[in-house]
Symmetry: C2
Subunit: 211 residues, 2 copies
DNA sequence: CACAAAGTTAAACAAATGTTTGATTTAAAC
DNA sequence: GTTTAAATCAAACATTTGTTTAACTTTGTG
């Protein structure tokens, strides 16, 4: 299933990613992409077939990245369920922060298109991630660490929604907190740390506090 | 500042709203809008000048709606700060749920365009809402109801991000919770209630729980 | 070298796009 | 009823769009 792409294809995909994140899929022309990638216009059709297929290629290229890949941690008997959950949170934040362009595209795509290839991919990714978290939570409940009656989809929405909203509106966050003096790198670090603290606190409240 | 629109203009604006929410701004042609609104193509330029200006008109038309308009509640001495905060939460959820199309458009627009008319409007709206909530929180802190060191922008991101993510992916939420049998109306009610409980719980945790 | 496949190109293509035109109809005011 | 402005319309406009063509260069292989 995993397709491999050559250098030129990756150049095109990553140029497209930047532009899609910046101006949206429909707001970006294949000529824009060709120019940014320094390739001839026809190369995009030649390699990917169409603009739509290029988006699909981008999702295949990045898709693996946004999956929570912590299966090996799951069985670890030495970690508490809460520690595991905190690891999942940091893992997710890490991915969103490292792939901000793709996160924006995903955020936009999932609001649109409930059919089609990308919707299907997003849906499966969501489902997969949710199953992992469900297992984690049920383990925690069995051990008495977590309380009962946890609405997992809502919890996921808070994780995904908060992280993506912050990433999407970080210029605003930066201004409101007077962090313009920070270097880009330092600001990213700051934001990541704050986001991590915030979400862990929220999750602790959902998972352990009684009414 | 507040422009009034005649029936035909509103017809166009609301048709555009539906289509923009469904297919995005760039994914919608003015011909699509004209057809949906049952008006001649040229009427859109005639009334609004351009497609971009039509989007601006939509924001002017709906913009007022998404502002949190609870200034009169603020001074109410009989309500606790937590009660006020819960009212703000329900107020926001109510607006997002009632204006799902516009919420989707805003969500998409704020990821894109950090310049331009709509970005400016969103920015001002954000700032205004944040000031209101800041006041509320500082009142609560002064009264000893809320703890210190609350990251308000992060809190706002959780409110906005969670609510909008749920609205944007409600088909998924519905499927995952086996709520397909519910009527649309009942499902909206269900989702609203759950969302309200969830966010109130989160906010209570952020605002009152000590480390 | 010869040959075939893959890569690359400028040009052309048809369709769709946002916008404008100019003629015609409707409505209101005098 | 005449005049004037607003509203409506089909058609045309110039760009931009995604995609294809057909000629070419490059690359690798026997």
């Amino acid at each position: 299933m995993t397709t491999t792409y050559n250098d030129k294809q990756i150049q095109i995909i990553e140029s497209a990613e930047t532009l899609f994140a910046e101006k949206g899929f429909n707001g970006t022309s294949v000529r824009d992409i060709a120019e940014k990638a320094n390739v001839n216009l026809a190369m995009i059709s030649y390699y990917f077939g169409s603009k739509d297929k290029l988006l699909e290629a981008l999702f295949s290229y990045r898709g693996e990245y946004l999956k929570i890949t912590l299966e090996n941690m799951m069985g670890d008997g030495t970690m508490s369920s809460m520690d595991k959950m905190n690891t999942v949170i940091d893992h997710y934040i890490d991915k969103v922060m490292k792939q901000q362009c793709f996160s924006r595209i995903m955020m936009r795509e999932q609001v649109l298109n409930h059919t089609g290839f990308t919707a299907k991919l997003i849906f499966e990714m969501k489902k997969r991630n949710q199953e992992l978290i469900s297992r984690l939570i049920h383990d925690g409940q069995r051990k008495g660490e977590f309380r009962k009656n946890i609405d997992i989809p809502l919890m996921m929405a808070t994780l995904i929604g908060t992280a993506n909203t912050i990433v999407a509106t970080q210029h605003y966050y930066r201004e409101i907190n007077n962090l313009q003096t920070l270097s880009d790198e330092d600001f990213q670090k700051h934001m990541k740390k704050k986001l991590s603290q915030h979400l862990k606190k929220l999750f602790k409240a959902i998972l352990t506090h009684e009414e």
